[in-house]
Symmetry: C2
Subunit: 556 residues, 2 copies
């Protein structure tokens, strides 16, 4: 740049930028730092669900309980959980101790420190598998939250049943991004399970909505193979095991071609041990046959005989585009393990003693073209169904993803949208919001499409929305009959009362007409009414062909 | 455990756990992995805002534009931005190239690779300062999203104006968790600024709501010191600079005692260079005087003369509890830099040419007992105010946090709640939703209380809610007068039309009565009406003491 131009520029800059002193890039970048992931989450603990006094405590319970259930399921063990919430110090100290104990497989000595003392470390992150947890931040996140609010480490005891019991007091060293072990004991013993105990401040226990009690109650509803002993600052409740069958072990499922993006495909290819792209496709994706490979070959401009390690972005992109042009069988559903209709009905009967209960487990389907899911829906009516409020029973929507309760952010959830789209009145549900009804929805999928990092709300994928609606409507046909019967029974009860009320009067009138004794006539009339409706008017007679008018009786 | 007990336990376990083969902890933990933060965000890109085709593209623009504005503000430079969105390939290819260029301070050679090629690296994470960005994941997150959707690196050119211009093509090596530089050139030259250019697939450009155009338009509204040239696939728009003053440089503010938690206090103390806790408190927190130290000393059971490096959790906790018992002055507001009433009004006039515009910048206040904030609200009415829809104008709520537009998740935002709490009808706004009105709300704070990781919605803190309401109501008193005037003008216009309509008729009648010429009478009557209301009926007369009846005119 010429000297003159420079001066002009400088003058222009000064004119435009005024008297504020400019600061150089070098000066600004003196503040440049790298932070590790534990510092990041310590600053942004709301990303992990630690926001609000009640929600924070519920999140702790959620993380520990889901880890226990996942571990038992993977290990093939019927879970036996003890959950304890104790208040420490004064009533308004907002200081609690949470202990969760399971009879799961335990954690090997080599892994225990990182499971609890390091974020982003775990067994689930990289696997395409139906489990409740996914990230490897649940347990260590709770440890971080404990130390941030109380300065105290978390106590963990774990045994694998093979002779060693390990006890540690663990924290996260946020500066080093590594576990900090304050105390470790190894004993011999055959106890199997994991016990985690931690203190938290600035949290609040509530038995009401969205609190730990509700979380555990919902967990029991969707996991009736689990026994949960729950002790809160006031009471102890045991949610007994309702079924004795252990759920099938979840299996990893291979990605389906129509759901694979270029980026993932390239990652898979570069990690593959196959010698040819063709065999890589057949072995590491689902539903790819030799015939399909031939179809794909016609759609790409490179030889599928090359090594998958050698393919580049543009080639992987060609594959991904070819996949979209081919007709695929839906992914196999063996990765999806529903609770099952009978089991859900048993669980809800045990939990709610409803007058009506029915569950529907739908067939597997796919959303976004490639991700398998299935929907389970149940409705329980009357008895203890519905949500208890000071003003009486209200409708309760119990939402689950892979059997884990979703207590927060219900407004944005596909389940809420599907529920609201139903014309409930058509099914004799006159005022949904104020009925003693529990609606249970469980989404089973190897990949739950949450709306946000909070993992409390399922995105409105059209296929999921429709499946929930179908399942609800299937049940509603039966609920309609039940409620219709209930309504008719109520009407008959009303009629019976009217009849009974008029029997003495009618008898008096007939006495005058016929001269027969009033008492005899009353008995005859009563027999007439009871013969017609039964002593218990709430039961519907086999057939009810025509309405009985009051006149009919007095004419007899 | 005795042998007998063991056998009993085994039998019990078998009975309970049935035929499913148990899997040991060791086997399960073969799957144990540690992942790095880039793998974590690659799997959970929705945490960074990359969800949905439109939102993803808007997020890219947001990250790059806020970085540019922050850098200019910190460096004391009047920003000059060029934002370009180009469509690549076919119309429905969902493939775009985004380029953002600024005249900011540039990035030093030593830092440029990590700024774009590593997550959680930046200048803002650890500072208590009013800036748009906070985490050090914006720029590198966009680079990650680009490579995940196109496989391509991001091109960056940066010059600090001091003779070196650096050009790199950068990606994230997600396996190594480090930057991957594909190409680097260093030239000499005095160009100053940063240019970032990246391609994305699976995204969608829209000129409509929540798209990049709206984002840039809103940015211009809240940053009228910025010139933005915006080029989309069809047009080019220039948002001219409306004010020439550079906003004050944001300064770091010290934490206020009533907002400090034990954990943070301990961190601060252990990093302090002070020799005594007392001087640490005075120097590193705001509003702590020698008098306050004496007050604190009475509330804790240890000597404030010890080294801050030596204090432990329980001592830090005592301090934090003592802070809560002491009356503090509110934090100084010098960390808070509002846009200012005049500037907002100028910006909205330039953007919307409204008939009415008024802004209010409220005094600083604190929420949650310690975090300073201030609220700026403006209302623009008629002209181009309001949101354009095919059905006509609708009310538009423009939300900002530290001048950065919040386009998504408006439903859960405190601004929406505050707006809806107002009885608009009292202020002559008859049907808020369908009025040509733009409501502008900007929250300024060193810590914006977002509801979630998405950073699009502000939590309902009571103090913030009330401040927004107050500010709105202050303006609404003026809007009421304006709309009242508008309404009366409309009524007068209506009346004038009626008068004019009846003038010939009245003249005819008067001709018969008085014998005067009809034309003369018409002229006289017209003069009468115009004298009363003026030729332009929309202007209100100085005083309008009583309604003029039609009869008054004809009696004249």
């Amino acid at each position: 740049m010429a000297q003159k131009e420079k001066q002009k520029l400088k003058a222009k800059v000064e004119e435009e930028e005024g008297p504020i002193k400019q600061v150089s890039a070098e000066e600004l970048f003196k503040e440049f730092r790298e932070v590790n992931v534990s510092q990041f989450f310590a600053k942004n603990k709301q990303y992990l669900g630690y926001v609000g006094k009640v929600k924070s405590l519920t999140t702790v319970i959620h993380e520990l309980v889901t880890n226990s259930l996942d571990a038992c399921e993977e290990a093939g063990i019927l879970p036996d959980l003890k959950v304890k919430v104790e208040q420490i110090g004064e009533k308004d100290a907002e200081h609690y101790k949470v202990t969760v104990e399971d009879n799961g497989p335990g954690i090997p000595e080599a892994n225990i420190e990182k499971v609890f003392g390091q974020l982003l470390a775990g067994t689930k992150f990289h696997r395409n598998i139906q489990l409740r947890g996914q990230q490897g931040i649940g347990a260590s996140g709770a440890v971080l939250f404990a130390q941030m609010t109380t300065g105290k480490p978390t106590y963990v005891k774990s045994g694998t049943g093979k002779g060693k019991i390990i006890e540690i007091h663990v924290m996260l060293d946020t500066k080093a991004g590594a576990p900090k072990i304050l105390d470790k004991k190894v004993q011999s013993g055959e106890w199997r399970g994991t016990l985690v105990s931690s203190e938290f401040k600035g949290v609040q226990y509530t038995k009401g909505q969205k609190g730990p009690y509700e979380y555990v109650r919902w967990t029991a509803a969707a996991n009736p193979h689990t026994k949960i002993k729950f002790k809160d600052p006031e009471n102890e409740v045991v949610f007994e095991r309702v079924v004795k069958e252990i759920p099938q072990r979840p299996v990893e499922s291979k990605p389906h071609p129509s759901g694979v993006e270029t980026h993932d495909l390239l990652e898979l290819a570069h990690h593959s041990t196959a010698h040819k792209v063709s065999s890589f496709l057949v072995n590491e994706l689902t539903r790819v046959s030799a015939d399909k490979v031939a179809e794909i070959q016609k759609l790409v401009n490179f030889d599928l005989g090359i090594s998958p390690k050698k393919i580049e972005w543009t080639q992987a992109e060609q594959l991904a585009q070819a996949f979209k042009k081919i007709k695929w069988m839906a992914p196999p559903a063996m990765g999806l393990i529903p609770i099952g209709e009978k089991t859900i009905e048993k669980a809800l009967k045990s939990l709610l003693q409803p007058e009506f209960v029915m569950a529907r487990t739908r067939e597997p389907r796919v959303y976004k073209g490639g991700i398998p899911f299935l929907i389970e829906v149940a409705i329980a009516y009357a008895g203890n169904a519905g949500r208890e409020t000071p003003e009486g029973k209200r409708a309760e929507l119990m939402r689950f993803a892979n059997r884990a309760p979703l207590l927060f952010d219900g407004g944005a959830c596909v389940t809420t949208a599907a529920m609201n789209s139903i014309e409930w009145k058509r099914y004799h549900v006159q005022d949904l919001e104020n009925e003693p009804i529990t609606i249970f929805v469980n989404l089973i999928s190897t990949h739950v499409p949450y709306t946000s990092a909070g993992k409390q709300s399922i995105a409105e994928e059209e296929e999921i929305y429709e499946e929930i609606r179908f399942a609800l409507m299937q049940i509603l046909r039966d609920l309609q009959i039940f409620l219709g019967g209930k309504r008719r029974a109520a009407e008959r009860e009303e009629k019976k009362k009217i009849f009974e009320k008029y029997i003495p009067e009618t008898a008096k009138a007939l006495t005058k007409l016929t001269g027969e004794k009033e008492e005899t006539l009353i008995k005859k009339l009563e027999k007439l009414v009871y013969d017609r409706f039964g002593k218990d008017f709430s039961k519907e007679p086999e057939e009810e062909k025509e309405e009985v008018e009051e006149g009919d009786v007095s004419e007899e």
